[in-house]
Structures are given as structure tokens and as C-alpha cells.
């Protein structure tokens, strides 16, 4: 079941630097939001706040009606938020095979073995990885590893999916294939998702709405069509970075 993600006046300081500054953001149930911004703009930190790895210094974070973090406190630890995460470096556990990687979360939730194996088989089939259950991450290709990471996040049927630039190291063909897989999986599940990227094309292809993040603040947000009609300075700069122009 998808859930609304809501951040209200969230701030976070790391050392002397204010990484997130009074940020407010709402992602509606079933909406796919692309969080777009240059390196160091606070995108990954924002995901870590939502996941519950760091508490906000000020402000609050809600998942649906649940207040999960507020004013320097984590009210619900990460494992109780029921969120899925695909990390930039995928973070597949090297000592567990593909089945073990997917089973870990299901075992933690005490899903019976038969049910667990059925869900894993279904999920692997959905991402075209049937038959790879006993292979280890080190034995998989780059594209296969990406799909295992996606399957691991989705097999738990999370309330929302957070994705942190998982396609940044892939070639253009593989990236497009995986973007299409992401889009299909999110739409068929009607799942709330936040997709962090610094690539305008990825953001435009995948998301319902784009939020532009700069120095810890949302500086512009809207659909791709709205934004490209009236690009602010940050979007203009990101577009200028694309040597071959923006997606149509």
C-alpha cells in the first residue's frame, strides 16, 4: 500500500555546514518524484533523513499519518518504516547469494519459508532473473546486480521506494532498459517513489514530478513540461550540462 511522504521545515547541519535548510516537500501516494540536483546539493542526505538514519535537527517527517522523525529525534527506527531503498552502489551483501539477499528482509519479518520462496521466485521472474537464486553478487553482470537490488527492495512490498542514483555507472542502453523496468514496476504497483538523480533525462523519463534541490533547499518543482517552459537558473545550468540537449 502506497503512502504519502511529507517533510515539514526540515533542517540538518553536519559539522559547520547546513546540508538541509528548512525544506518542505510532499510526495502524494503513488506519485514518482525525481529529486534533481548537482553533487553536494543534499539529495542523498534527504533520503537518509526519510529512511531514519539521521534525525532532522528541526522540522518533522511523516509517512502517511505516522510522525516518524521530529526535532532531533527518530521516533520510528528505519526497520519500522517499511521503506524500500536502492543505493547508488547497490549495497548487495557479498556473502549472501541472490536468494539470501532477497530473503534477508522477509526472514526479518518472519515470513514463512514457503511464502518467502514464492515471493522471491515471483520477484526474480518479474525482473528477468529467474534461475539466478544461487549466484553471488560477484558472479553477476552490472545489469543483473542492478536488478537484484531493485528486486530486493520491492520483494518486501514497501510503502514507498527510495532510489539513490543507481544508474550513474551504466552505459546508455542498459540505463534506458533499467529506467523502463523501474517505470513499469512502479506504475504496476502504484508505488510512491523518490528517485534521486543529477541527470535531467532520467528525471524527465521516470517521474511524475521533479523537485530541484540546491544547497539543501527545493528551488523549483513541477512536472517536466511545466519546468521546461520556465526553467530556473539551476535547471538551465543542468540542461546546459547536457551536451546533446534536453529530452523531448
Amino acid at each position: 500500500m502506497s503512502v504519502e511522504i511529507s517533510l515539514q521545515d526540515v533542517s540538518l547541519r553536519i559539522g559547520q555546514s547546513e546540508v538541509i535548510r528548512g525544506l518542505s516537500l510532499t510526495v502524494a501516494p503513488g506519485e514518482v518524484l525525481a529529486l534533481l540536483g548537482p553533487s553536494g546539493s543534499g539529495k542523498t542526505t534527504l533520503l537518509r533523513l526519510i529512511l531514519g538514519f539521521v534525525p532532522p535537527e528541526a522540522g518533522s517527517i511523516r509517512l502517511g499519518p505516522d510522525l516518524v522523525s521530529a526535532d532531533g529525534r527518530i521516533l520510528r527506527p528505519p526497520e519500522e518504516r517499511n521503506l524500500g531503498i536502492v543505493f547508488q552502489d547497490l549495497a548487495l551483501w557479498p556473502h549472501l547469494d541472490v536468494h539470501g539477499n532477497l530473503a534477508f528482509g522477509l526472514d526479518a519479518r518472519r515470513v514463512p519459508a514457503a511464502e518467502r520462496d514464492r515471493r522471491i521466485a515471483e520477484m526474480l521472474a518479474r525482473v528477468s532473473l529467474a534461475g539466478t537464486e544461487r549466484r553471488y553478487p560477484g558472479e553477476l553482470s552490472g545489469g543483473e546486480r542492478q536488478r537484484v537490488a531493485i528486486a530486493r527492495a520491492l520483494v518486501l512490498a514497501p510503502r514507498a521506494l527510495l532510489v539513490d542514483e543507481p544508474l550513474s555507472n551504466l552505459d546508455a542502453t542498459l540505463r534506458r532498459q533499467l529506467l523502463e523496468l523501474f517505470r513499469a514496476l512502479l506504475k504496476e504497483r502504484g508505488m510512491t517513489a523518490i528517485f534521486v538523480t543529477h541527470d535531467v533525462r532520467e528525471a524527465a523519463l521516470l517521474s511524475d514530478r521533479i523537485a530541484l534541490l540546491e544547497r539543501g533547499r527545493i528551488v523549483q518543482s513541477g512536472t517536466w513540461n511545466e519546468l521546461r517552459q520556465k526553467p530556473g537558473p539551476l535547471l538551465a545550468a543542468l540542461l546546459a550540462d547536457l551536451a546533446w540537449g534536453a529530452p523531448s
Binding site: 526497520e79 531503498i85 543505493f87 552502489d89 549495497a91 549472501l96 534477508f104 528482509g105 526479518a108 530486493r152
Partner: protein, 528 residues
């Protein structure tokens, strides 16, 4: 046609590796080959290896040695892994101080710790009685002392590996599971290669240990080899035969190391290595602190007993009893550590950069480390104890050769781990501007990894300082290191003087380790 200088420069890296390989082969491979040659050539049925190995007592001793080594390994893992976890990943108060005190015994010769425990629990010890003495002088006492001595190896490797895990691996698990489950299923699973390495080291050191079983009068296999080379059962031919099963064991350990550890020990710390989560112990913090305190007390107790037993009288007699042994130790260990570090820079770097020629050299160094010290000792005796090489055999050089062979792996692996943390591009950029290999090594690799190189030298130095079991078989007369001096005095020297010498040996190691810690701290906080 290329000029000779150009040809040399083109193959400079291979030449460096070849030179290093030659030194390693002379130090570690030659003794093994000579040993194997002697085993093959001694075929007389009455006195050959078959006759020696036909004795059931020999196999019983070997089984007992293996049993002791296995028990020590299992117990050290059982204690060391939780401790490593408490020190590295929890919020137990005082954990870093407790870790430092707990880790210290691994730099001390185990038989000195046994001597310290004897002054606590021997018949006339501070807490001694007939019962405690019987318990101490038994296989159980031997295992307990070796566990106390070697557990810090497991603790340290587990703590280091837990500190080096990519935080994303644990965060991915924290999203779906509670901290305890993440710790046991993901964190401990991810450090399995480090735990395998720790188990291997503890098993190999326990199997090699000579000083503690001799002191506690527990008959084990290394004692049988030693007795045939320098004791009442003098029979050097039999000693050669006795190392045959140990050679097989060493090869099995080497295969295990290649299979379960190998290149996986070169963990590369991610940029986010400092972001890993700490497990809050909550109301269990007191238990965590007590566990740390207990570990620290066990580490320091033998030293306290030695100082107490030595008293003023013991310390005042130190110069008379010590002779030149401390200076021998320092000079031999410095020289050996310097040679090992130089070899480590060439081989360790090649290993980190996956050069094909480095793998067999690393395997040879690992074999020399995991094989029981008596095998290497007997091999060195067989190789160098002849008239043509008397100048080497009768000098400090033989000790340096023995230590270089035995502990080379310490410096190569330490430097390999340090080099693996930096990208290859840094060296490639220097090569691209025309810098030859030797210059890249001096101007790029060594300055970049100077702390890792210093750590490698220090570790090699301390391992040499604490060594007894390798060098006791072939130290040159009148040039014995301090450990050998204490070992030989222990049987019939004045107990106060022996305790004082033991305390001195421990103080020297403590001074070196503390000095290195201060230097490391100064390097971190000082100007760059």
C-alpha cells in the same frame, strides 16, 4: 636498437620483483627445499623418516597438538568476535582504552605471559594453591593461557574489519531489520574473510607454540622437535623426519588461506567509512563496559604479577643477567624489519595491483608464516649449518634470515592493504609523464603510503621482538635475543631476575607500540 638503460627501464618493475623474489626464495624456499631433499635422501629403514614416524607416541603428540590448537582457535573466536564487536560497534563506555589494553598481549611472547600467570596461580603465587597450580600445569591451563594470549588477534582483526565495512551494506539491512539482526547476519557475515584469517593465524601460532607448553610441562609436538635439536633427546635426523607431518599441515593451512581469505583481505575503505552506525547497548552498556574491563584486566594481570615478583632486587640484577641480549634483540629486529619492509614495498604493492608474479611470492611468504616454526627452524639449520656458510650461521645474519622468512607476510600484507586504498591512477599518471618504476615507487607510492609502510615496519619489528619459537633452534652462540635469554634462564635462573627480564621485555614492546601510537597521533594532528 634499444640502449641497455632503456631495456632496463622497460622491465624495471619485473626486475624489482625478481630481486625481491630471489631474497624471499633464499630466506623461505631454500630451507624447505633442503629439508625435502634430506627427507628424500634419508631412506635407511632403521634410521629414516619411516622409522621415526612409526612410533605411535609421535602421532599421539601430533593429535594432541592439533587438539590444543583447535580448542584455542575455537575459544579465541568465541571470545574475540563478541569483544571485537563491542569495541568497534557499540557505545560501551571506555571501549577504546579497554581495547588497547586487551590487544597488548598479542605483542608479547606468550611464555612471558605464562610466567606472569604462574606468579598469580602457581603454588607460591599471589593467588596460588595446590589446586590452582595443578590446573595451571595442565592441558587446560595451557589452552587458557594461549586463549588469553591469542584472543586479541581475533578481536583486533574483527574490530578492524567491522570498521572497514561499507556502511551502505548495513544501511540496506537496517531498512528491514533490527540492529542486532543486522549485526549478526550482515556485519559478521561480511567480515568472514577476516575471521577466517584470524582463525588461521591463531591456529598456526598455537600449533607452533613452544615456550608455553615447555614451561607448563605439557608434551606437544614442537617440544618433541626441539628436544631432538637441543635437548636430552638430541637426534637431528629424527627432527628432520618429525617435520614431515608438519609440512603437510602447513600446505593444508596455505590452501585454506587461499580458499577462504586470499585477496579478500584487502578491504578497501569507502569514502563513507566513518558513517557506520553504532549499536546503542541501552541497559546492556554496563555489561559491555564490564566485558571490556575484564578483557583489559586479563591483558594486564600477568605484567602486574611479573613486576610484583621482580621487586627492586630483581630489577637491580637485570644488567648482570641481561648481557647483550636486549641489544641483540633490537639490532636483529630492526635489521629484519627493514629488510621485510623493503621487500613488502615491492611485493605488497604488486599484490595490491594484482601483478601476476606477486601471487606466488605472497603464497610462499604465507606458507612460511603458517607452517609450524619448527619446520622453518629445522630447514634453516639444515641449509646454513655447514662449513661453507659458517660465517652466516654464526652471526646475526642467521636470525635476520629466519625472521625475514617467518614474518615477511606481515609487512607485505600490511603494505598491500595500504596501497589498495589508493587508486591505480595515481601511479599511472606518473608513468604517463615518463617516470620509471623505481622513481614512481620512491616519489609516489612510498610518500603516499608512508603511514602504512611505517606500520608495516613496526609490526614486523614487534613480531621479531616477541619471537622465540623460530629463533630458539638456531640463534648464534653469544648473540641470543632477549626472549631466548629469558627462556633459557627460566629453568635455573633466579626467579626475581627472570621476572624482571620478562617485565623489561614487555616494557620494551610497550614502549615501541606506545611511541608508534604517539607518532601516528602527531602525524595526524600536525601540519600536512
Amino acid at each position: 636498437m634499444d640502449r641497455p638503460l632503456t631495456v632496463f627501464r622497460r622491465h624495471e618493475e619485473q626486475l624489482y620483483l625478481g630481486a625481491a623474489g630471489l631474497v624471499i626464495a633464499v630466506a623461505a624456499l631454500l630451507p624447505l627445499l633442503v629439508l625435502c631433499g634430506q627427507l628424500v635422501s634419508s631412506t635407511a629403514p632403521a634410521s629414516g623418516p619411516a622409522a621415526t614416524l612409526a612410533s605411535a607416541r609421535i602421532w599421539l603428540l601430533l593429535a594432541r597438538s592439533l587438539g590444543v590448537a583447535a580448542a584455542v582457535t575455537a575459544l579465541a573466536l568465541g571470545v574475540g568476535v563478541p569483544l571485537g564487536f563491542i569495541f568497534a560497534r557499540t557505545d560501551a563506555p571506555g571501549r577504546w582504552v579497554a581495547f588497547a589494553l586487551h590487544a597488548f598481549p598479542m605483542f608479547v611472547p606468550p611464555f612471558l605471559l605464562a610466567l606472569g600467570w604462574f606468579h598469580w596461580f602457581g603454588r607460591q603465587g599471589l593467588l596460588g594453591s595446590e589446586t590452582s597450580s595443578r590446573a595451571l600445569f595442565s592441558a587446560g591451563g595451557l589452552i587458557a593461557i594461549l586463549v588469553a594470549t591469542f584472543t586479541p588477534i581475533v578481536t583486533s582483526l574483527a574490530a578492524l574489519a567491522l570498521s572497514a565495512i561499507d556502511p551502505a551494506l548495513e544501511e540496506a539491512a537496517r531498512v528491514v531489520a533490527r540492529p542486532w539482526r543486522v549485526a549478526t547476519r550482515i556485519s559478521l557475515g561480511a567480515i568472514r574473510p577476516a575471521l577466517a584469517l584470524a582463525a588461521l593465524i591463531v591456529f598456526a601460532l598455537s600449533l607452533s607454540e613452544l615456550g608455553v607448553p615447555t614451561f607448563l610441562r605439557v608434551d606437544l609436538y614442537p617440544s618433541a622437535v626441539f628436544a631432538r635439536l637441543g635437548g636430552v633427546d638430541y637426534a637431528p635426523g629424527e627432527a628432520v623426519a618429525l617435520v614431515l607431518p608438519l609440512l603437510g599441515l602447513a600446505l593444508i593451512l596455505l590452501v585454506a588461506e587461499r580458499r577462504f581469505v586470499g585477496a579478500r583481505s584487502f578491504a578497501v575503505l569507502g569514502a563513507r567509512a566513518a558513517e557506520r552506525f553504532t549499536i546503542p547497548l541501552g541497559r546492556w552498556r554496563v555489561v559491555g563496559a564490564l566485558a571490556g574491563l575484564l578483557a583489559a584486566v586479563v591483558g594486564l594481570a600477568p605484567l602486574g604479577a611479573l613486576i610484583g615478583r621482580a621487586g627492586l632486587g630483581g630489577f637491580s640484577s637485570v644488567p648482570a643477567w641481561m648481557g647483550g641480549s636486549l641489544w641483540n634483540s633490537l639490532a636483529e629486529a630492526s635489521l629484519a624489519a627493514s629488510i621485510m619492509t623493503a621487500l613488502g614495498i615491492v611485493v605488497g604493492r604488486a599484490l595490491a595491483r594484482r601483478r601476476r608474479a606477486a601471487a606466488p611470492l605472497d603464497a610462499l611468504a604465507m606458507l612460511a608464516f603458517v607452517m609450524p616454526a619448527s619446520v622453518l627452524g629445522v630447514g634453516i639449520l639444515a641449509t646454513w649449518n655447514r662449513s661453507a656458510t659458517a660465517a652466516i650461521y654464526g652471526s646475526l645474519a642467521i636470525v635476520v634470515i629466519g625472521w625475514t622468512a617467518r614474518y615477511l607476510i606481515v609487512s607485505t600484507r600490511t603494505i598491500a592493504i595500504a596501497v589498495a586504498q589508493s587508486p591505480l591512477h595515481l601511479e599511472e599518471a606518473a608513468a604517463a609523464v615518463g617516470s620509471p618504476f623505481g622513481r614512481r615507487l620512491r616519489r609516489i607510492v612510498m610518500p603516499l603510503h608512508r603511514r602504512g609502510i611505517a606500520a608495516a615496519w613496526l609490526l614486523a619489528f614487534v613480531f621479531c621482538l616477541r619471537d622465540l619459537e623460530t629463533v630458539v633452534l638456531f640463534y648464534p652462540a653469544g648473540r641470543e635475543p632477549l626472549t631466548v635469554r629469558i627462556f633459557t634462564l627460566e629453568a635455573n635462573g633466579p626467579p626475581a631476575a627472570v621476572a624482571a627480564l620478562a617485565a623489561l621485555q614487555i616494557a620494551v614492546v610497550a614502549g615501541v607500540v606506545a611511541g608508534a601510537g604517539v607518532a601516528q597521533l602527531a602525524a595526524r594532528t600536525g601540519p600536512r
